[in-house]
Amino acid sequence: MRRLQSVFGMLAAAVAVMSPAAVSAAETVKVGVVLGFSGQASASVDQMDKAINLYVKQHQAELGDIKLDLIRRDDTGPNPDMARRLAQELITRDRVNILTGFFYTPNANAVAPLATEAKVPMVIMNAATSSTMRLSPYLVRVSLTQWQQSYPLGQWAAKQGVKRAYTAVTDYGPGHDAEAAFIKGFTEAGGKIVGSVRMPLKNPDFVPFLQRIKDEKPEALFVFVPGSKDATALMKAYTELGLAQAGVRLIAAGDCVPDNELASMGDVPPGVVTMGYYSAAATRPQNKAFVAAWQKEYGPDSIPSPFAVGAYDGMAAIFYVIEKQHGKIDPDRTMALLKGWRNDNSPRGPVMIDPETRDVVQNMYVRRLERVNGKLENVEVETIPMVKDPWPRLHPQ
């Protein structure tokens, strides 16, 4: 009996230690950041965290005496129940004014109802499934949607004269989205899909899939895989099998060529084309300044990825609403401010929030993967200005 007592005594003590501190002062804005700091996507989340820190460092002064309190919580990966609990605690205990982060769609989806119930604006920095926005009127997204990049990529490919294309995507929600979006864009513009394959999420080897596609000899191969290690593995398989030499052009969602991973992709053959919203190699001045600041902070070898820019712009939006309201955050006013928010200083070029869908509107770039000064870069070759997510138009409620 003593042992049980002591165990629960310890428990109580442990919980007591973590109880909330005194209630916040009027000028403190609390922002809860829910991201998978540990877990599968920690490399990408690390980029996002760095971007958040960088933005705060650069723009701290603008807030004056308003105190910004960023409360980070680790949802450890695609764990919606945990993300929801953390958000719930951030709302009820820490009384955050704004929620942000959300790398994974399921995590964002699980939290969305809370945003509605508690009237806490929620700025999605990554999760890219179109339908998420319909789950709550308190959501905005500053990253992108799968449809936003793969649909115009399909159109573009057809316009380039590609007649027969094959699609290969990872077999999970975002992959299915990318596949549907590309096929829609491509076939609407007159292209023909000769085959589609969905590759398992846990997939140690892409080669068999690509070998099969190589044997089918399409003119182009559209690919979507989640960033990071899968992207590199895919590129390596593409190189290794000599698909380029066999005449199969690789066109891919931007996720397959994260800027910070390019160095480990080896000798990717020229001609790989991707559609994305951000390339670290972009030459516009806003980006040059951003990359310079980034490398000053995190070293010359560190290269910001699109994930970083998503988080960076998310902070820009949050700073905007804080400044506009002088630190007194009202949820509905915040949403009103965010709808139609526009930022021309983003590293990715102009970006705004569609007042209707609360989703991001931005330039999409056609990029060619090229070796510049011995380093692989996503060189922007064509701009498709201010693309809206086509999904809501094609899937009316």
Binding site: R3, V7, F8, T76, P80, R85
Partner: protein
């Protein structure tokens, strides 16, 4: 398992006949839960999740602790329960309490079928087969987008207020009380089960299967039954998770979850009924605290804790507590 040192004064028969009587330390978890409700009103969401994991770990204890079946795939049943409850709610069955038995039945059925197939094996083979079952279900849930929402998760779970009165509030009060009551029912049931001849015979199977065969106990049948019961109970835990989170993601079927619950149970102490009550809260509170202190590397500390537990605290926390108590009494 039952060491009766203070029994010298009463007859062995009397002692054994009342061995199942409730002793007051057994009520401590309930005192703690009630106290927690009032003492930490802003931690009720965590509390509800902890209790769900306690129930889940309790179901694992039946399989692992009592029947000695080592499994790396117990999340299979948790996940099936969660998806059952979630899918029911999405399709209009918005009453939470009646969804629990349905979830239990579906998870139990999966337990029965898979148990029937895999429990003829032992050791590494069994370990791999439990893993395979959970992984297959995970893949299937990912594939069946139309039913489960796939990787984006099952959205649109709405529940009517419990008993028509208590709606699931933002502070997690309803969820907390609801989970506490279900956990209590689960505990009463499991406690009865392990103190019943059936539970004793499971211990016998774990201790010495050869002897159980030799006294005419239908060993495999009992294993399948307990596997089924534990699966149903895990299904209830999963259903609670789906209902209180109002969302179901693929993680409910993941290896990570199977591993986590195993760790929690072993951490607390296996085969003692209360290991789940000690291990799950401690693990989750430790994880919560560590991940705040060190979001990037907290699992290093969890790993270290595991290694240290195995090296120096075999039998888990309750095992060590037992050992200390015995040393003090000697």
């Amino acid at each position: 398992m039952f060491v009766y040192r203070s029994a010298a004064t009463i007859s062995p028969v009397d002692y054994m006949v009342c061995s199942h009587r409730l002793r007051w330390p057994e009520l401590l978890p309930w005192v703690a839960i009630i106290a927690a409700y009032f003492a930490f009103p802003s931690y009720l969401a965590l509390g509800a999740q902890v209790m769900i994991m306690v129930l889940f770990a309790l179901s694992l204890d039946l399989v692992l602790g009592y029947a000695g079946i080592v499994t790396l795939g117990h999340a299979a049943f948790f996940g099936v329960g969660a998806y059952t409850a979630g899918i029911l709610a999405v399709h209009g069955w918005e009453e939470a309490i009646t969804a629990l038995p349905v979830a239990a039945a579906v998870a139990g059925a999966v337990g029965l079928v898979t148990g029937y197939i895999i429990l003829r094996t032992r050791g590494l083979t069994l370990l791999m087969l439990t893993l395979a079952v959970a992984s297959m279900l995970g893949e299937a849930a990912n594939k069946a987008n139309w039913l489960t929402g796939g990787a984006d998760g099952l959205q649109g779970i709405t529940l009517r207020p419990l008993l028509g009165v208590f709606h699931f509030d933002l502070f997690g009060r309803t969820a907390f009380v609801y989970c506490a009551l279900v956990l209590f029912a689960g505990w009463v049931f499991v406690r009865r089960l392990v103190h019943a001849p059936f539970g004793r015979s499971l211990t016998g199977i774990r201790e010495n299967a050869a002897r159980m065969h030799a006294i005419g106990a239908p060993v495999r049948q009992r294993q399948i039954i307990v596997y089924t019961i534990a699966a149903a109970l895990a299904g209830v835990a999963g259903a609670l998770e789906a209902q209180t989170t109002q969302f179901v993601g693929l993680n409910v079927l993941s290896f990570d979850l199977s591993g986590a619950v195993l760790i929690m149970l072993i951490f607390g102490g296996v085969g003692r009924l209360y290991g789940a009550f000690v291990g799950a809260p401690l693990y989750m509170v430790a994880q919560d605290a560590l991940s705040r202190l060190d979001p990037e590397y907290w699992f290093f500390w969890v790993g270290l804790l595991l290694v240290v537990t195995v090296m120096f605290a075999r039998g888990g926390i309750l095992g060590v507590a037992d050992l200390l108590r015995r040393k003090v009494m000697r």
